[in-house]
Amino acid sequence: MYPTKYHKPASLEDAVAGLRSAEDGALLAGGQTLLPTMKQHLAAPTDLIDIRGIDGMSGIRVEGDVLVIGAATTHAEVAGSSDVQAAIPALAQLASGIGDAAVRHMGTIGGSVANNDPVADYPSAVLALGATIVTDRREIAAEDYFQGMFMTALEEAEIIRELRFPKPRRAAYAKFPNPASRYALVGVFVADTAAGACVAVTGASESGVFRHEGLEAALSGDFSADAVDGVEISSEGFMSDIHADADYRANLVRVMARRAVAALG
């Protein structure tokens, strides 16, 4: 990789200051996406700000009806947490299917949400559950946060501190992995919430994670697998690549949505 300077600040303020003073700084949260990208010479930050030394950045707690997960909490910690399993089991299940066991020991929820890779798993849960992204300076609602692939509402030198997930009545995630990378070729997160049915789709759209209004409307009336069948899934704006064209992805959205709902019994 290109030369870079590593920093491990002890406070959020120092991390923000470090990012501000760097010529081209990047946050290091788990590094499972950033480091491979740097190894391939596709990214060349002058400074790496490791947020894992900051007190309170990792950990899971329940505050009433809200599950709070620190940004530097690893996928393995989320997957194995009894709090997560009790509050939102679908989130634990989603985390247990990210990457592989070794990646899950390092990769973090904050890193994934900040990167907003269009084929990542977490954004679908954050969006479908209507989570709140808490940063060093403000709170951002999920629906305002995701702004297209690799694009978010985060400002310069803004750092995610934690994610707050309101508990849904029930939720499930179904993923169809890319046969090569094993990222989501399509992932559908369905949540039965106080605000109605929420369905977020990852992996499919050229605009990144999105909510599927047709599926939400169908499920709001009848939260059952059969309700999914009548919904038209347009492939417009869907990605096409050597693994799946837009039409096949559209089919997978329906099939994964159906399976996610069916898993709820």
Binding site: M1, Y2, P3, T4, K5, Y6, K8, L28, G31, Q32, L35, P36, M38, K39, Q40, L48, D50, R52, A76, G80, G99, D100, A101, A102, V103, H105, M106, S181, R182
Partner: protein, 168 residues
Amino acid sequence: MTNVNLTVNGKPVRRDVPDTTLLSDFLREDLRLTGTHVGCDTSQCGACVVHVNGKAVKSCTALAVSLDGAEVTTIEGVAQGRELHPMQAAFNDHHALQCGFCTPGMIMSGIDMVNRYRAAGKDLDAETIRHELEGNICRCTGYHNIVRAIEDAAARIQGADAPAHAAE
């Protein structure tokens, strides 16, 4: 250059390395522990898996400087002297390796998964093992004997646990 202190296979080590040094390079080039292999550049093959603070990680996807103070175990540190770890023995018994290149990562991942499932009190059956091997690619064995070896090692380690529980 940044000074890095680690405990590797039980021994303290200290080196000045560039910030860009990956743990895999630190082990292979600075410590000359060449049992940790590098088989890809996209963090997928798993030949480089080691344990950091008791957990499997891909050493090609971690900066050495970020692990200052950590305990690292590599394939060279798994056996007790001449006595093989049950996972190593099971790989030999079941012919779970051919060219041997992916083997260190397979064994380190195998030990990690057995540890995790034991800690969680969950069974590690063949289907689960296949899922857990998501991040380890082997081109020689067709996985049949690797899955069998990990199953067997899990049983051996579980068996070794049993008398200890009985004695309590």
